[in-house]
């Protein structure tokens, strides 16, 4: 099955089996390993990517369903060698420990800030409700998103 899509701002073509999900396409078809496989059931959120700016569970969506769409993965979050303000805030505030949930956290947060640039702490918690972290807890993650939103360092 041939696919054309936009990946991290660049045109991309792939030829993958029809039963592959977006996660299979990214990791095994395109060798982008930043998007993680966690539960495979849409619960844990670590495979979250953006499709046309909105959050998507890469493990749940068939690769065919992103034909022609614009995907953003964690590899595409930095631009011209500069980290996204969310990435900087996560790093500076210790919002990552083992790092496995981090790509999904960052992309879910990116989707939130795209829709609501000045979220409340409650809005951040709601946006990240589907992203599980089993190391640090969520306090620093929420603080980092709020800091990135307000431009605080």
């Amino acid at each position: 099955m041939k696919l054309e899509l936009t990946l991290n701002g660049h045109p991309c073509t792939a030829d993958v089996p029809a039963h592959w999900t977006v996660l299979d396409l990214l990791r095994d078809g395109l060798h982008l390993m930043g998007t993680k496989y966690g539960c495979g059931e849409g619960v844990c959120g670590t495979c979250t990517v953006l499709a046309d700016g909105r959050p998507m569970r890469a493990c749940l969506v068939l690769a065919a369903h992103v034909r022609g769409r614009a995907l953003t993965t964690i590899e595409g979050l930095e631009r011209n060698g500069r980290l996204d303000p969310l990435q900087t805030a996560f790093a500076e505030r210790g919002a990552a420990q083992c790092g496995f949930c981090t790509p999904g956290m960052l992309l879910a947060a990116k989707a939130l800030l795209g829709e609501n640039p000045t979220p409340t702490a409650d809005a951040v918690r709601e946006a990240l409700a589907g992203n599980l972290c089993r190391c640090t807890g969520y306090t620093k993650i929420v603080e980092a998103v709020l800091a990135a939103a307000s431009g605080r360092r």
Binding site: M1, P17, A18, H19, W20, T21, L23, D24, R27, D28, Y37, G40, E41, G42, G45, T48, A51, R54, P55, M56, R57, C59, L60, V61, L62, A64, H65, A108, A111, L112, E126, A127, A129, G130
Partner: protein
């Protein structure tokens, strides 16, 4: 370790007629797929092994959210996120907007569709009880003619709907919310906030100028093989004043007419107790105006 989906063929029809042709083919086990948020995990877990998936994603006309006179028409492929953010729905059918917003998490609502939610026939559906209260109808297409089924008849049993082989749900039609209605949806989850409800309660009441309730509708999710209307509980309120004692009696009636199961989320007894609590709580909030939509 990555568990790949059991292989299947994928058919991507570009017209409804072609989709109906594809589902009419009786060879092997074919399944319709909309957003995939329910079907893909079932395939991954080996609960179903379809050899053919028929995707509806190339039928954009099925994703429309529009008004048809006084009726809200949701295409079966309308995304839950688009339903709860659409001004048309928020203003005219706030109960549905509120229930759609409570489904799982943001990323699931962006992919998941209203038609898929109904066809999955999960007893603990969030939109299900709201659509029952709003007396929605399900539009079904088939190769010859079509039919319309009230939502109450669409849910037939545990993960079972009225949809027959060769048919496709194309739209959900929702009559106008009654004038002066107050409505709300609450869900109680026993594990995490974004989980499916242990008990979900939708209610719509129409007070008159003296405070009596001319109409009272209560939908319940997670407490029977399908989402249900608690009709005996409703009957205790219609034309009555919603006093604290009346609301307690209504909640008790709702707990009695439910047929809850025990599962990993909670026992049947616990579900009945939570029906008592949450039906009373929601109706009290609607009465007092501390929550209304």
């Amino acid at each position: 370790m990555t568990v790949r989906l059991y292989p299947f063929q994928l058919v991507e029809p570009e017209t409804l007629a072609a989709a109906l042709d594809a589902v009419a083919g009786r060879d092997g086990d074919a399944r319709l797929v909309a957003g995939g948020t329910a079907l893909v995990p079932m395939i991954r877990l080996g609960l179903v092994k379809p050899d053919r998936l028929i995707s509806l994603h190339r039928l954009p006309e099925l994703a429309a959210i529009r008004r048809d006179g006084g009726i809200l028409e949701l295409g079966a492929m309308a995304r839950l996120a688009d339903i709860h953010t659409a001004p048309l729905v928020r203003e005219g059918w706030p109960l549905l907007a509120e229930a759609a917003r409570r489904v799982a998490t943001p990323a699931i609502r962006v992919s998941g569709t209203i038609g898929g939610n109904l066809c999955y026939a999960e007893a603990a559906s969030d939109p299900g009880p709201a659509l029952l209260c709003l007396e929605a109808e399900v539009r079904i297409a088939r190769s010859v003619g079509g039919r319309t089924v009230p939502a109450t008849d669409f849910f037939r049993g545990f993960y079972e709907t009225a949809l027959q082989p060769g048919e496709i749900v194309t739209a959900i039609r929702v009559p106008a919310t009654p004038g002066g209605a107050r409505s709300g949806y609450v869900k109680f989850t026993s594990r995490s906030a974004e989980d499916r409800p242990l008990v979900g309660v939708a209610a719509l009441v129409v007070p008159d100028s003296s405070g009596r309730w001319l109409d009272a509708r209560i939908g319940l999710g997670g407490v029977a093989p399908t989402p249900i209307r608690a009709r005996r509980a409703e009957a205790t309120l219609r034309g009555e004043s919603p006093t604290d004692a009346a609301l307690r009696a209504t909640a008790e009636a709702a707990a009695r007419e439910a047929e809850p199961l025990s599962d990993l989320m909670g026992s049947a007894d616990y579900r009945r107790e939570m029906i008592r609590v949450w039906v009373r709580r929601l109706l009290t909030m609607l009465r007092d105006g501390t929550r209304s939509s």
